[in-house]
Amino acid sequence: MKFSYRWIREFVPGLEMPAQALERLITMKTAECEGIETAGALLAGAAVAKVQAVQPIEGFHNQIATVDAGPYGQKTVVCGASNCRAGITTVYVPLGLKKVSGVMSDGMLASAAELEINRDHAGILELDGTQELPAADQIIEIDNKSITHRPDLWGHHGMAREVAAITGQPLRDPVDLSLLPAGESPVQVEIEDFGLCPRYSALVFENVTVQPSPLWLQARLTAVGLNPINNIVDLTNFIMAELAQPMHAFDRAKLQGSVISARPARAGETILALNDESYELNPANLVIADGAGPIALAGVIGGKDSAISAATTSIVLESANFQASGIRKTSSALKLRTDASMRFEKAQDPHNTVRALARALELLPVLSPGIRLVGGMADCSRELSVPAPIWLNLPWLARKLGRTLETAEVRRILESLEFGVTETDAENFSVTVPSWRATKDVAMPDDLVEEVGRMIGYDSIAPTPPAVLCAPSYDPPEREFLRGVKRHLAAQGFTEVSNYSFISEEEARRFGFAVESHVRVLNPIAAGQELMRTSLLPGIYRNIVENAKHFEHFQLFETGREIHKVPGQKPAERTHAMAAVFSKDDGRAGLLELKRAAEGLAPGLHVRPAAPNAWEHTMRAAELWWQGRARAAKRIGRLSELHPNLVEGGRGAVLDIDLELLRELQPEAVKYAAVRRFPTSVFDLSILTAERELAATLELEIRRLGGDLAEAVEYVREFQGPPLPEGRKSVSFRVVAGAPDRTLSSADIIGIRTRIIDGLNSLGYELRA
């Protein structure tokens, strides 16, 4: 929202500080300013000038004009405008000497666009001799988000009220309600639902002359970002920018009948709007209609058919109030945000409709000389309720702010913002809220904390530690667990990455995930981000491919949430960790590195070969099972190499772990067991077997055969190649034999060893000497 400094000063005549200082105060006490710009910078030195003579420049389109530049005297300027001719009155701007088309030009003649009066840049501005040039202005731009809750700040008078309160200056009201006419209006207003349209007021005028607005008014509108069109439309925009009340003017001759109704659109109705777009309407859209159908989309935009044109001689001037959420719904549904809808969706004050009409009554005779009011004012309104006063306890207010307050100061602040203050006793105020703050903004004592706090200055509050009970904080175990996982993986050489939660349908298909099993984003930001990830794999895969362009070897990991569809319920979130190793070797080391990382998280986990997924190396896919504190092992994750078709120029291995399951399985606190007192004996076994026999299978058999006295069975190494026959390998294990209550005799040891060897032989394994 752009605010004109001059406009504000019209309502706060005592305002003397420059715009820069005012901007800072507004930022600190009302709303965030985004900066100051000068509007009509060229107007600052401009003078009305008369073109005395014009002569062409050989070989150029430009002409040399000799002008009487008023206070600047006679000047010779080069001008390219086709309307530059002897005898016209225009605007001279001193810019210094400059060679243009080979001729020294002393300043320029300006167009209305260059002067920022309107957007007309077809030629230089022609004046009729009676109009004064508008003055340059300072424009303070306020962040719209910071006034979302302040319907009153969408007009200059509202901001002027703030400025008056901040500076302690009196505020002038531009509205004279006594101008409102009595008597019957020639139009009748019908409101179907007062909830949607609390109030509709209108005036009818005849003998209207549609013409351009005076330059000062055009310059004002341009300065605050509105586009001058003609005197009638400009009037509605001017009052909107001044009083925050959007208005609309209909060409009365184009209306059917004398009844204007505010009603929900009938299904199938359409309207051709002022922006030349046609909208198909439904009962969720409130329309203004005449006898024939919709003439405006209420609170959003007017209809083209009843628009003001050069031929208009009679108008209906609408000043209505609409329910905020209804306007917002229509405006969002039709993707049509206008200056009017932006204001109405902030919940405008229904008292304001007639104020805007009174202001129009003052301005119209100036803008359209000879205009005549027809009849009285149409004003259909629900009963406007007066909000109950707010009870404000002053000690409470002081406690909320954390500083002491003078009663008189609190009263002064509230009254400067036009709150009504009654002192019910020494500690309590009864505060009435002005209608323009009562629609949504101020309703409870806490809202008054803000009013007093901001005006007294938050910088007057000293930082104070709170006096609260000391208590240990509640810390969910998940957090600390996740930290441990991240720390472990980073210590193991993995670099943490963070990927998006979105994936594309194509990615889902690439990894063989069913597209329909994903939660879909209804309004994705871009193609390729339409599904919620059900696995961290697509992101990690992307990381592997991208980083392989820069590195020969790398290890990375991510922890993040998988989002899974749950029919009829909120999607389930599951935190996983996925780690990856990329290398240019045979891939073996990377997989074992990942296994080591997994074993660090789940000591004693089991790896079980698994049927490969489409994205996995067919011979290198395994599930990870871990018992942890549970009775039986559970599948906590997966370890595999990516299919070579997916990774160019190297090997990519990935480890996926369900961190929620891993956490649930965390063993309970360690129980100490007495250290063995009796020595153990150790012997090695080398087993000759098929080359794809699993070491884990052999180990399991040895454990089983060794029984209780085989305390530990450890894999030592394996060997393949001559002198062993093709297709065979030798796997060595070390068996530690011992008993808790005695030293085993050599006969015991031989017994165990023989039992294991015989057992293995009978299973078809061969023992190497």
């Binding site: 809750h149 803000e450 980073a490 309004n523 919620m532 990991f557 989002i563």
Partner: protein, 335 residues
């Protein structure tokens, strides 16, 4: 006899290697050695002679053994020195195994702030990334069709769910779960439906904080923010509050810090204003308390939202927000 002894001594000292020395030892000190020979015919000698011989043998034994031991130690020392020398090792070669990994800069700063707040008695809570409209908006006093919903462009999911646009829903969940009094923070990933460029991301990290107790004032809020920011920036910071609108707080503030680059004199970082907008905060709106089952007449509090992503960018002077979600190790390995 003396000649015999001298020649034996000479043979010991002449040994050039440990093996030679051992051979001499056997010849001289062994069971069939020179000394043994000398003691053999002791029985034939007279008592006086025997005493003299015995004395001689003892002396000879001592000197021979002494010479032997001395030389043996020398050879052992030489052998050890040789072994050690042969075990020369170049410790400048890289160690085998993986290089240390690293944690994402967001993780690092998040932990730092979590630890700070835990030391002040705050709980660190977590909430879902997929939220209900109720928790993300309604319970935070942002009803449907409230213009404040425009402030946070939302990703909508099928089934009327959404991706949380802020970590504030965890406030609600925290109040529902733990009740007052309450001190909590909630760091996490949030989503806004915004186009991505050097300074905008649709996925970023926030840290929400809340304190609910009796008699919590704006002065307490300022105290906590000052403590927090001084710890984060590791130097004294000056803060200021100005009005800001956020429906879940009343009054609501924008908190600025005095520009750390120019100290408040004005520079490009603070756009010449001397202040940098850092975080939104405020006193918890009574409606929000009531919706979470807390009596606003008895309890009050403050809440704030800190942009972790923004903080990381400030701390490391990162010029493009997209690096953070890029997964690019050239960037991430620096942290």
């Amino acid at each position: 006899m003396q000649d015999l002894l001298d020649s034996a001594l000479a043979r010991i000292t002449a040994a050039g290697t440990a093996a030679e020395l051992e051979a001499v030892r056997v010849e001289v000190l062994g069971r069939k050695g020179v000394l043994a020979q000398l003691s053999k015919d002791m029985g034939k000698l007279s008592a006086d002679e025997r005493a003299a011989r015995g004395k001689f043998i003892n002396t000879a034994k001592q000197s021979l053994e002494g010479a032997y031991e001395e030389l043996k130690s020398k050879f052992e020392a030489e052998a050890l020195a040789k072994r050690l020398d042969s075990e020369w090792l170049d410790l400048t070669v890289p160690a085998p195994g993986a290089r240390p990994g690293s944690l994402h800069p967001i993780t690092q700063i998040q932990w730092e702030i979590e630890d700070l707040f835990r030391s002040l008695g705050f709980s660190v809570l977590d909430g879902p990334e997929v939220e209900t409209e109720h928790h993300n908006f309604d319970a935070l006093n942002i009803p449907p069709d409230h213009p404040a919903r425009d402030m946070q462009d939302t990703f909508w999911l099928e089934g009327h769910h959404l991706l949380r646009t802020h970590t504030s829903p965890v406030q609600v969940r925290g109040m529902e779960k733990l009740g007052p009094p309450l001190r909590m923070i909630a760091p996490g990933r949030v989503f806004r439906n915004e186009s991505v460029d050097a300074s905008h991301e649709h996925t970023f990290y926030q840290l929400e904080g809340m304190m609910i107790d009796r008699n919590v004032s704006a002065g307490n809020l300022i105290y906590f923010m000052k403590t927090l920011l001084t710890a984060i920036f590791k130097r004294e910071v000056t803060v200021r509050l100005r009005p800001g609108f956020f429906p879940f707080v009343e009054p609501g503030f924008e908190l600025d810090i005095r520009c750390l680059i120019c100290g408040g004199d004005g520079c490009p970082v603070c756009k010449q204003s001397g202040w940098v907008e850092l975080l939104p905060c405020g006193l918890v709106n009574p409606h929000v308390l009531r919706m979470s089952g807390i009596d606003p007449n008895e309890w009050g509090g403050f809440a704030f939202g800190l942009g972790l992503t923004r903080l990381v960018m400030m701390r490391y002077a990162i010029d493009d927000i997209r690096w953070l979600q890029s997964g690019d190790l050239r960037f991430l390995r620096q942290f």
